[in-house]
Symmetry: C2
Subunit: 184 residues, 2 copies
């Protein structure tokens, strides 16, 4: 039986990321789960226009996307609770820089992407930043050869309705494969 | 130890959805995992420009986003393998329509969103469709009151690197809460 619950975005769970940007010359990190893949090489971030980090992204024309593991859930949640205007959140983490030089990344996150800002869509309440991934850094312990093994990343997944953080479950099927039997 | 693996989008896992649109007056469904949340009420879909479904979205100015459960993994994978140009994929599912009247939805998917097309960003290789959610339909068995309980939805999560479908794991922490102890 279907129930109508109004106009609710129900595209969950989404991976939780820590977005890094220099603001006023200092690294800052903010927690975002309203993210997306916009093109084969491009990530989208939906960020409330009033956030402290937005100006840093525009100023430096770059940002980082860091995937925390479940071990960082307290720090990750904290970075969504407290503005960089009020606290120096960079003290929570060890920061490193890469190719773009101005996109701060978190050593303790198993996956880090450096993104060049390639667009900004002015949405009614949010800035939609589009970032082309320039380089990806991964903990060697989370790879199989050059591929990232997400079962080793232990990402944090978010669903907004009951304010949940979930773990990733088991790998159970092969994409572009398990449906082939219906092609007969 | 960090390893650089080049410019790889590593924003996974993402929820797998079946996007519905009428094409030539007939319901069609395509599997997409390169999705996103673009604003509080708006979803983004990144779809290769050559897909059969894109013209239907533009023509009808609407589409649906359906979240399949793991029980539909074969059908979901199949809808990403075969073009609507070659097969009538609507025969796999029971279709229903809602408020927008022209956005076909799948009864067998526990969550369905009707979206009005509000924008299209021309990305280098993909169309980025922006859809405002107009109404959300949920199986009553997947709700707690008016809230969707994603542990009951059993969504399919996708990671591109090793062509994986994952299940959702356990709920392990409260968002906007677990990090509060670091505020002291």
């Amino acid at each position: 039986m279907k129930k109508m619950i109004g106009s609710k975005v129900a595209l969950y769970p989404m991976p939780v990321v820590l977005v890094g940007a220099n603001v006023g010359g200092r690294p800052n990190y903010i927690t975002i789960a309203h993210v997306g893949i916009a093109d084969l090489g491009t990530i989208s971030l939906s960020m409330g226009k009033s956030h402290y980090t937005n100006a840093g992204i525009v100023e430096n024309e770059c940002f980082s996307v860091n995937l925390p593991g479940v071990d960082l859930v307290k720090e990750t949640d904290y970075c969504g609770l407290v503005s960089g205007r009020k606290a120096d959140k960079s003290k929570l983490f060890e920061t490193f820089y890469g190719t773009l030089e101005k996109a701060p990344m978190i050593v303790g996150c198993p996956v880090n992407m450096e993104c060049r800002l390639v667009g900004k869509v002015d949405m009614p309440s949010h800035d939609l930043f589009l970032g082309e991934v320039v380089e990806t850094h991964v903990d060697e312990s989370c790879t199989n050869g050059d591929k990232i093994d997400f079962s080793k990343v232990h990402p944090i997944l978010f669903a907004m309705y009951d304010k949940s953080y979930f773990k990733l479950g088991e790998r159970f099927a092969d994409a572009w494969s398990v449906g082939k039997e219906l092609m007969k």
